[in-house]
């Protein structure tokens, strides 16, 4: 027992407090989103908020159990967990239940379970375990490719389940690579590529190419002395033009029409408030109508009356925005940012490389979900169905994010050890 007390003493209070705050905010807003006069009891298991209560309680139990584990366990079982996760992803492809077009659910009795959610933390563990191997040299191409493979295999399986949203989540691990020594310019090139991607969809491709050539010529004239740079810049131009045309081709020929219109709506090209743009428009109306201080608890009309679809899962932030206004939104965003920065700070103080990489993995995944989910509700990201960590309704996601975070909290209690 004395040892246990020691564990709790070393547990980072900031993370636990923020975690509990976010989970409670989530529950309050789920309650508000489905609240109706007929179902007032907060333990009504027929309602989302009643069930979410169970998920919260079980999550807390899971968190407690994790804290009681030995840290070495997570490192040791990284690969088995990862392989098991891959296996369930394959099995779900065969026997899974189709929900909203994705074959990504196991239905066990009344409980639905989404392997893709669990794969996130499995990948996180496996990546940390692999990259922290003592004899590893990150600068070797072979190492990088293998690390990439750890991510890409589950991502492809999830993609096969038609769950594009979750598949994209895996790109979050780029941040981990960056921290562990991936050349910084790759991140910049990635950002430039994303910018080019967006511009291609917004501007006519020939005008864009013209602009790119113009900028290149200007740069060449400006730095004509340095031949190496001129070659580099010209090379970039050729690459950029290739990207522009391939993005254009991919968008028009490879994406499904609904995906095309989601992207178009997000970029503001298409204002279709009934079809593809319905969710986004209603979501913006809900959030926008909140004003500075919001309409007050249970007074949100947009979310409560189901104008915003999936308002207790993917669009839970609408309820926050509508009922608690700008102030409430600020608090939630603030909590996330503090949580993320705190994780990074803790990760940096780990003696064990495994713990540090795992911490970065947790931060990356949480950050990606946070950025895409809130971004989509306010029209800054395409509508991809991924949950808002700790707030969204749903057992699988709450459990996974809890496990993800608390393993890190556990690892942090042993920060001075080499695991």
């Amino acid at each position: 027992m004395r040892e246990d007390r020691g564990i709790f003493k070393k547990t980072d209070r900031w993370l636990v407090i923020i975690y509990i705050a976010l989970v409670l905010i989530g529950w309050i807003n789920i309650y508000a989103a489905v609240y109706s006069e007929e179902h007032k009891s907060i333990f009504d298991l027929g309602q989302n908020y009643g069930r979410q209560m169970i998920w919260i309680v079980t999550s807390l139990i899971i968190a407690l159990i994790i804290l009681l584990f030995d840290s070495k366990f997570f490192s040791a079982f990284s690969f088995p967990v990862y392989l098991m996760s891959i296996l369930t992803l394959i099995i779900v492809l065969i026997v899974g239940k189709v929900v909203a077009g994705s074959r990504s659910w196991f239905q066990i009795g009344p409980v639905g379970f989404q392997p893709a959610e669990f794969a996130k933390f499995a990948v996180c563990l496996a990546l940390a375990r692999y990259l922290s191997s003592l004899d590893l040299d990150i600068r070797k191409v072979r190492t990088r490719l293998f690390a990439l493979l750890i991510i890409i295999v589950p991502a492809l399986l999830v993609l096969l389940e038609q769950d594009t949203g979750s598949a994209i989540t895996y790109s979050a691990f780029l941040l981990v690579f960056y921290r562990e020594g991936m050349p910084g310019r790759l991140l910049l090139i990635g950002a430039a590529g994303a910018l080019l991607f967006v511009l291609t969809l917004l501007i006519d491709k020939f005008i864009l190419v013209g602009l790119l050539i113009g900028v290149t010529l200007f740069l060449i004239v400006f730095i004509r002395r340095n031949r190496r740079r001129i070659i580099l810049i010209t090379g970039s131009l050729v690459l950029a033009i290739v990207i522009v045309f391939s993005v254009d081709y991919a968008f028009n020929h490879l994406l499904k029409p609904y995906q095309q219109s989601r992207v178009s709506v997000m970029l503001g090209k298409e204002i279709d408030t009934k079809g593809a743009g319905y969710n986004l428009n209603q979501s913006k109306i809900a959030i926008g109508s909140g004003g500075l201080v919001g309409k007050g608890f249970l007074n949100g009309t947009q979310t409560k009356f189901d104008f915003v679809p999936e308002q207790s899962t993917d669009f839970i932030f609408c309820t926050v925005g509508e009922e608690w206004g700008f102030i409430g939104s600020l608090v939630v965003i603030g909590l996330y940012i503090v949580l993320l920065i705190r994780i990074i700070q803790l990760a940096e103080r780990q003696r064990s490389i495994f713990s540090r990489i795992y911490g970065y993995g947790v931060a990356s995944i949480l950050f990606f979900h946070f950025a895409i989910n809130i971004g989509m509700t306010i029209g800054l990201a395409p509508v991809i169905g991924i949950p808002l960590p700790f707030l969204s309704y749903g057992g699988s996601s709450l459990w996974v994010f809890t496990i993800l975070l608390f393993i890190f909290i556990k690892l942090d209690t042993n920060r001075m050890d080499l695991i």
Binding site: G181, T301, F307, G321, I333, Y336, I344, E348
Partner: protein, 601 residues
């Protein structure tokens, strides 16, 4: 433990902060700067339902209910809130096919996607019953209750007018109306629209995206209740109107009866007419089209809008003017050579020469030509004489509209001198040129209403109250807008001999209407036959009764019926008898009139 890349944590934290900042900035814009989302939110969930009040009832002068309301239900749609549903079920429910459904929804969408529009008008009560239960299956649709007019008797269609959907011009100029609202389009419904319509109420109901009502918005804080329209008592006597319309069956023409002591219109008949119930609800536009195409023009209100030469009934006017101007006296006699008379022949065979009294009784044409000639020769210039004459004529209400509460009167025509100047040249016309005016023919045109007012004025011996239809409006004490007295330019004393002459039209041994004399009633009248270039002459009769303290004055015109004495006179006397005694004794005359078909179909 630090390693060479540990500085990169700042880049990672920087990315987190940047994204957080972008979100906050965007939220600041959405929630605080841009107010349009707040508005959208209200439109989204609050359904504004207009509470249509009951339209005011219309009673006749004796308190008989003439026009009342029946409930109807409109199926409304808010295109924005329509979601995928079983269209076939809805189509079957309201009995339309799918193509019409799609087409209708499309055109409504083009008008407005956010505002509620009528999808199907006046669904039956049975359908409404089903609808109430199934409505939740059709998101975006709801039922709005409306008021439809209903009529106790199929009479006085032109007087009542009808209500219909408000037009776009009115919607844009009068904020009270919204598209789809009903408004009085003609008749009393139009004139007294403001009183009859009441005040629309507004109810704000919150609905969710599945069209389920979630109770009133803010406990009804912003709701207003509908205020019932005011009831209207009109001057029409329903029994008289009904009887008049029966007598006019299968005839073209009109009857206007006025109470001389008040100017109240007792009956206003234009035939052929139609059943006002035809222009109600769903069938209105279809029936309107049928009525509009009818060659007998049942929609045309002849009593107010048709103009005729007044014929011999106008001889009284010339006698009055000549007496007033002193160009003749009651004793003056003029010769008559019957059909051999010049310049105007006389079709009545009677002893000659006659004085004024006899000339009225016998309707002697040459007498009134000579009398008219004395007026036109009073001054040296025909223009001055004619203007004297015209002023007197117009003081009886001819050549102008009364501008009371009657819907679309026409002015008739009493030409000014420049009309003749233009036609004949300034020096090109004289008394002889316009001789037809002496016997009420020629250029002058009058409406049946003006003719009735003219006889009412004679019965009042020189003044009239502007004819009108409103007797009283619920809780309104001020009748000044309908009780307007007008005095003519003729001295009351000159009317005595005219009234006496009119009395002799019935009572005299050779009176032109002596066959229709009613025992115990002192009726005074004058026949008229308006020549008509298009066919048989119009039969005209004007009369009032009793001779002293008259209670009713009326003008009857039966188109293409021939002599005034043949048709218009018996109709007049039957109506006067009915009005004054409550019944009619002369069943043979009544039967002959009712069964007579003068339009030949």
């Amino acid at each position: 433990m630090k390693n060479i890349y540990s500085e990169r944590k700042y880049v990672v934290i920087g990315i987190f902060l940047a994204v957080g900042f972008i979100f906050i900035a965007k939220l600041f814009y959405l929630q605080i700067i841009n107010k349009s989302y707040l508005l959208s939110a209200q439109n989204n969930v609050i359904r504004i339902i207009t509470q249509y009040p009951a339209r005011g009832l219309i009673f006749d002068r004796n308190g008989k209910l003439l026009v009342y309301n029946e409930a109807a239900y409109d199926l409304m749609v808010v295109p924005d809130q329509v979601k995928k549903f079983d269209t076939l079920e809805l189509c079957n429910l309201i009995g339309i096919d799918r193509e019409i459904f799609t087409h209708r929804l499309k055109s409504i969408r083009e008008y407005s996607t956010r505002k509620a529009s009528v999808f199907e008008k006046q669904i039956s009560k049975e359908t409404y019953g089903y609808m109430q239960e199934k409505l939740f299956k059709f998101p975006g649709f709801y039922v709005q209750s409306r008021i439809l007019r209903s009529y106790t008797y199929p009479i006085a269609a032109h007087t009542f007018g009808y209500i219909g959907e408000v037009d776009n011009a009115t919607v844009s100029s009068d904020p009270y109306y919204k598209p789809g609202d009903y408004i009085g389009i003609s008749g009393i419904e139009k004139t007294y629209e403001k009183e009859l319509r009441g005040v629309n109420g507004v109810k704000r109901i919150m609905v969710d995206v599945f069209n389920r009502e979630k109770g009133s918005f803010q406990n009804g804080k912003y709701d207003t209740s509908a205020v019932k329209g005011k009831d209207l008592w009109i001057t029409i006597d329903a029994d008289l109107q009904l009887y008049a319309e029966q007598l006019m069956a299968h005839k073209k023409g009109s009857i206007v009866a006025i109470e001389p002591s008040s100017g109240e219109i007792l009956c206003l008949v234009s035939c052929p007419s139609y059943d006002p119930n035809l222009l109600v609800g769903r069938v209105r536009s279809k029936n309107y089209e049928i009525l509009e195409k009818d060659t007998l023009q049942p929609l045309f209100n002849r009593a107010l809008q048709a103009t005729y030469p007044p014929g011999s009934s106008f001889k009284l006017m010339n006698a009055l003017i000549a007496l007033q101007e002193g160009t003749t006296t009651p004793e003056v006699r003029f010769p008559c050579n019957g059909t051999a008379s010049v310049p105007i022949k006389c079709s009545h065979y009677h002893p000659a020469p006659q004085n004024m009294l006899g000339a009225i009784e016998l309707s002697c044409n040459p007498f009134f030509w000579r009398t008219f000639n004395t007026i036109m020769n009073k001054t040296r210039d025909i223009h001055d004489s004619y203007n004297l004459w015209r002023n007197h004529v117009m003081s009886f209400g001819f050549g102008n509209s009364f501008s009371s509460d009657l819907f679309t009167e026409v002015k008739g025509f009493i030409p000014a001198t420049d009309y003749y100047d233009k036609y004949f040249g300034e020096k090109g016309w004289r008394s002889m040129t316009i001789r037809s005016l002496s016997i009420g023919q020629g250029e002058i045109l009058v409406t049946p209403l003006q003719l009735a007012n003219y006889v009412a004025t004679i019965s009042n011996r020189g003044y009239y109250y502007v004819p009108h239809l409103m007797k009283s409006i619920e809780s309104e004490e001020d009748y000044s807008r309908t009780r307007v007295k007008k005095t003519t330019t003729i001295d009351p004393k000159y009317f005595t001999i005219i009234v006496e002459g009119m009395y002799n039209v019935f009572e005299g041994s050779m009176g032109t209407a002596r066959h229709y004399k009613v025992d115990s009633l002192d009726i005074c009248g004058k026949t008229g036959t308006a020549e008509n270039p298009h066919g048989k002459a119009h039969s005209i009769f004007i009369a009032f009764a009793p001779k002293d303290n008259p209670r009713i004055a009326m003008a009857v015109i039966v188109e293409n019926a021939g002599f005034g004495a043949t048709w218009a006179a018996p109709i007049t006397t039957l109506l006067i008898e009915k009005y004054l005694t409550g019944k009619t004794k002369r069943k043979d005359v009544e039967e002959r009139i009712i069964n007579c078909n003068l339009i030949g179909d």
